[in-house]
Amino acid sequence: MKRMKLTQQEIVLAVFTALFLAFALFLPGFFTAANMLSLLQNVAVLGILGLAMAIVVLGRGIDISLIAALAVPPGLLLQMVQDGHSLFASVATALLLSLAFGIVNGWLIAYAEVPSLFATLATGLFLAGVGQASLFSIDVVQWSKGMEGFQNLGQGSILGVPTPIIMFAISCAAVAFFLRRTRWGAYIYAIGDNPNAARVTGIPTRPIVVLQYVLASLIGCFAGFVMAASINSMPTRIFNSTLIYDVILVVVLGGIGLSGGRGGVVNVIIGTFLIGTLLNGMTIMDVPYAGQNLIKGVVLLLAVITDSFLNPRNEETAQQGDI
């Protein structure tokens, strides 16, 4: 009766622990305070994006447009400052753009009933296009004078802890509070658990869906601020990269099911740590980039396969369309 039953979250945690121990034991220079901090710092932006994705995935959606939300509004901020606007006005404009973008996403998904994967694919493309066509003169928007103080979001440290880590921690705390302690968080879980029941119960499902995408967009924008501040520029071409896949991996691997309602901030943290540890360890070992990806992929695949062996799905329990 009392069989060991591991959830995916615990499996990933186990893999993470095993990797971490192995690196700590066999890899000189890995388990040092400095390296631990740089490990975390390197995945902080990924982690923040993961939080944004988590909010959406918990409500049975997916947001492919996060990278555009990460790149374009902060890029606009940098560009505006470069063009001589005040920092405050620029931040406000960037946030407004981000807010509007979230509303459009949410409206398309909640009211026009376009599937989230497709809708965000298109809106992301649109936003990236807008940025490219009319906002930025070149796609790496450089830091400029007038941004003083803003780089503290991504550079420097507080009490020895680099700020990106602190930003990640703050985001985690805020999102966790929102999801677990506020009514809207409860609504999101309810919608993810059973959207029909949520609707019939009287939860305003469509506004809540819009809220999810607005939050995702704003958090994505925040991640963009941190990133821009951290590398002193906004390479908006990041939209072309496969970063979004890493974000989805962090979330899903951490144990937040794409079918919604299950998981929380802790899962994002676990997923982020796993990826961070892998990358950091391999960088120290000087594994080339392609090799890193190969190893990363294989480890992730093993984790997913292990999960399927420990928690098998059969035709009776498999949900329709749960891809």
């Binding site: 497709f118 649109f126 296009g129 190969l294 992929g297 695949l301 891809i323």
Partner: protein
Amino acid sequence: MRETFTRWRYQYWPHHLLGETLSKRWTETAIPVIVLLIVGFVLSRTIDNFLSPTNLADTARQASEIGFIGLGEALVVIVGGIDLSVGSMFALTDFCALYTLNVLNWPVPAAAAATIVCGAALGAINGFLIGYLKLRAFITTLITLIIYRSAFDLLIQRYSNQIAAAFPDFPSWNFLGGGDALGVPSVAIAYLAVAIFGHLFLTRLRPGWHITAIGGSRRSAYNSGVPVRRMIALSYVACGALTAIGALFFAARLGTVGGDIGVGLEVIVLTATVLGGITLGGGKGSVTKSAVGVLIVLLITNGLTTMNARGGINRMALASILLVAAVIDIRWLKNRTRIISKVYVAPTYHYLPPPPPTEVGMGGPFEQNDRLREVDLIGLGRIEAPEDVILDRNDNLYAGSRHGDVIRFLAPDYQQMEIFAHIGGQPLGMAFDRNDNLYICIGGMGLYRIAPNGDVEKATDETNRSMTSVNDDSRLRLADDLDITDGGLVFFSEATIRYEMDEWPIDGLEARGNGRIICYDTNTGKTHTALRGLKFPNGVCVASDGQSILFAETFGCSVKRYWFEGPKKGAIEVVMDNLPGYPDNINLASDGNYWLALVGMRSPVLDLAWRMPGFRTRMAKRLPVDEWLFPNLNTGCVVKFNERGEILESLWDFKGANHPMITSMREHRGFLYLGGIANNRIGRYRLDGADPSFVQYDRRWGRA
């Protein structure tokens, strides 16, 4: 004036085609196709040589390459999954093609085969993980996307110089990359072939059915005995192989293993797939949808690039079109069935002059009387819905029942009743052939034959498909009445091809010529449609000359004659029109004339409504079916008429007390046997002065 206009409008404008076209399943793809047409039109207007053969060929080349991948993705999405790794597979198989050709110097066929096998193998990994290990498709292919891509990166680091150094120059390789036949690029021909096969595969072949079933409902498919795991795995294998084919042509065209080959391809392909109308989640999709989606995406991106648009504008335009198309398409799919139900019923103009009088005291041949009040009742309460009745040479009485039985009442007193045969459907018209086989029109099924020993055999259930109709009219929906000629031709009527059997009254509301006369040749077993466009054809009877048939058009309120052979072959002649009621079955009378049943009397209200198609259209749209105005089928009568169309006498049960409704009658040895589709009895009426030895079959074919 206005009425003339209405008549013309409803006569020549094919209102009914709208509903019929919409109910075709391919109209689900309407929105993407329209978008494609608009995009094509706009581009051909703005780009000078957009429609030039070379440009079209260039577009076709690229579209076909991506089209292959689109087909693979479509397959995977239809089976209920998703494949994000196509871009990486594309890169790897592209590498495989060029590596085998340029570095290993394999001959072209071997290299091509190796590439496809390589693609299938990569797909097989996905398939094994998702099908057999039951991993989730999204996350799995996301991971294999990363793995395959990094494998590709490692490989090109090692081999790209070697590959780049060689410029293979084989005619067959160049044909793959740039050749054409009659101006059509080789890759497009290959794509067309695969697409046509793919269409047949999905709609006709067993594996295609299985794939659709799994996508539609995994558990149902499993319960139906579909090998779910294997089919899922094979779909991914096919996706890999199709991707490899696309990559093969790409490799032949450009010969490159550049670092970003295939990056982001999965997004393009997925976009195209969803845009074409293949919904994520599975079960729905077609080859056309996939092709249309790919074409839209490609035309937009290439067209905008050609129009000097910068990347940003290009992206904005593409995204906007995708979103708009998706939003409209979603609305369309959601409301399509609702729209069909609103527009399918398409009433038409139908004018009848005021009917001849029937009331007592008005005189005329139709004057009501009570002669049928005296009928004997057979099988009262023991039989339901005997539409037609018939007697065999041994005087046994046969009738159909609503439950799909043919019931036999045994002579002489018709008290004993047995189920002669069970067929199903609704037995309607009946006729014996020379060998005492009973031919029966079964509503909903077609023409059946019952041997004297009670064995049931299907005669025909299918006629030729007419090329002009939108609905597939080869299936028999409502075979109604029949007669058999001396030469062994069975002529039977089919009342409507637009409605199923249980919806037949709607045809009366519509009053369009939806019916037809079909001929089944007992000698050859072949079936063909003899006449079409009839207003609910019903009774059929071979005329005295043996070269023509008489048939009744129920809602045309007329009886017509049709020559199927002889000097007047093919001619149609009106025998009687403007009947006061709706004619049903026609049968031979002992004096050489004919009996005709009128199943219900016309009412001025419906006569008027038939002249107001707009009114009936509104009614059909706004009121529930049971509140529509239908032809009333209640009290009727039997009339006797001759071939010149003169009414000789009429028999009524005016109050409808004893035998409320009459759909058929059969004269036999001095009696008239009456059937009625809403009755629970058969009537038997003694005819004064009729030939007491008259048996229809003896009269026509002599005693056996």
